[in-house]
Amino acid sequence: MPVTSRTQTTALERLNTRENARPRVAVHKFSSCDGCQLAFINAGEALLELAQLVEIVHFAEAGPMDPEAAVDIAFVEGSISTPEESERIQAVRANSRFMVSLGACATSGGLQALRNFNADGATGWTEAVYAQPEFINSLDTATPVAEHVKVDLELWGCPVNARQVFQAVRQLLFGVAPVVDKDKLCVECKRQQHVCVLVAKGIPCMGPVTHTGCGALCPAFGRDCYACFGPAENPNTTSLSRRFEGLGLMPESVAKRFHFINSHAPAFRTEWLAWKERS
């Protein structure tokens, strides 16, 4: 049994050595659609309860503003896609004891990471979208926070699930690491007793390789999961792709299934590249 080295403190231990009982919390935004922060803003009464339990020192969209404050827990939404952001994330990290990446953008680069590995590069796109590309200051890639600084907890999803976020907050308030369920979506889909759309309709559902957490929403609506929660543990993307091909998908369409909201996540990226070759 390996011994936990006591000389190196974990983020959780740093969190647990905070002085005051009411931890200070910040919500930071990087390149994103703001959808993940809404997990807090849409929480209604729970948001007011949270405001009692913690001191929300920075949360621009909800009001409190103090981006440079030192905090116990920092939630980070969004990916890093500009030079300014790549500097700011360093500052946020330096000011936080425990850092949580909130959502697909922050954990895997999100939808805007589709620009990564694109032949034209972001520059080409800037030229296409903006009349005066020289005004745009953007990085070639949109990357996950963990590629820039150490992240203590990753919450997947586009958007994250509010229930999951509040459970994580509660566990951190107890001073313990939150449970992150990395099972496949199918496990939850079946608990909810939805009829499998892949088996009963032949629709290319991404559930068998996708991280659970959303509550199996897509199958509940009779449609395919499109993997907005990213890859699950031990995803057999190869076998699933072959099944998609058997359902009649062209290689290009198989590739696109992986080249979507979490395209930068290694398991999906590899599968995308393999099928892109073939298309």
């Binding site: 006591r6 959780l12 509660r170 566990q171 001073g175 690491a177």
Partner: protein
């Protein structure tokens, strides 16, 4: 129908820091009726519940006849154990148990007891050691072989020294990595068998620790002509319920939570060391 999943409340009455990552909690029932009905056997475990966080299996190191709080020695490895580490005297936990099969007390009676353990594997055998020592006349020789990774892993050093001083008792220690203050052997626990005073016909062997270590020790013991039938071992598996329902702890046909954690070696032999079981 009684709800066997529901814990009862216990209070931390003492907390001992054994090493920086190992601590012992002394827990006493807040309901005296529950306390007086509680019976345990060496080698059994409890499910301890940290409020709002989770439940984990932890061996009981107390002697079955010992009145008063139940002792649990815990190593911090993950979320629940890290949370429990911060408990203080007066804090409350949930407890269910005791569960599982303990050490074979009847078979051991009158024989030499050889204890082979590694890592924190000692927790489940400590109650057995204490059991033998407080009923010294009912057993033959007591041989304790303990291997650890690092020299500072060895908890209860004083306790070991005390045991060593007991009559008819041999204590042998080995660490993977030695150090300046380490007067004992260096290497795996198996290096100790040469020095151990084991009579293959009189001994009953109880093993506990990482499975590779137990397997290697068993091979040595077999080579020393200790019959397979004289060997017993305690193993660990993920456990969610402790009462044979959740299915996590299965090893081949066994539910470790109820059929174990202590197994007769011949019963476990086909599964020991098979990757995936």
């Amino acid at each position: 129908m009684h709800n066997p999943d529901r814990p009862v409340e216990v209070e931390v009455v003492e907390r001992v820091e054994e090493t920086p990552s190992i601590y012992t909690l002394h827990l006493s029932f807040t309901d005296p009726e529950v306390a007086s009905a509680y019976r345990l056997l060496p080698g059994q475990y409890n499910m301890l519940y940290l409020y709002g966080v989770g439940e984990i299996p932890i061996s009981i190191v107390s002697d079955p006849d010992h009145e008063g709080p139940l002792e649990h020695t815990i190593r911090t490895v993950g979320r629940v154990t890290a949370g429990m580490e911060r408990l203080q005297v007066g804090d409350r936990l949930g407890l269910r148990g005791p569960y599982g099969r303990g050490w074979p007390l009847e078979e051991a009676e009158g024989r030499d007891v050889v204890i082979v353990t590694g890592g924190l594997g000692c927790a489940p055998v400590v109650s057995m050691i204490r059991y033998v020592l407080s009923r010294r006349e009912r057993f033959g020789r007591l041989v304790i072989l303990q291997g650890v990774k690092h020299t500072d892993d060895l908890i209860w050093r004083r306790q070991y020294e005390r045991w060593q001083a007991m009559p008819n008792t041999q204590v042998l220690l080995a660490a993977d990595v030695g150090g300046p203050n380490w007067p004992f052997s260096v290497g795996k626990v198996t290096v100790l068998f040469n020095q151990a005073n084991i009579d293959p016909d009189r001994s009953i062997v109880m093993l506990c620790g990482p499975e590779v270590m137990m397997k290697a020790s068993i091979d040595r013991l077999l080579a020393l002509n200790v019959p397979a039938e004289s060997m017993w071992l305690s193993i660990e598996r993920n456990m969610q319920c402790g009462i044979g329902h959740c299915g996590h702890c299965q090893v081949g046909p066994y539910f470790v939570c109820q059929d174990g954690p202590v197994f007769h070696y011949p019963a476990l032999r086909p599964w020991l060391g098979v990757t995936g079981f």
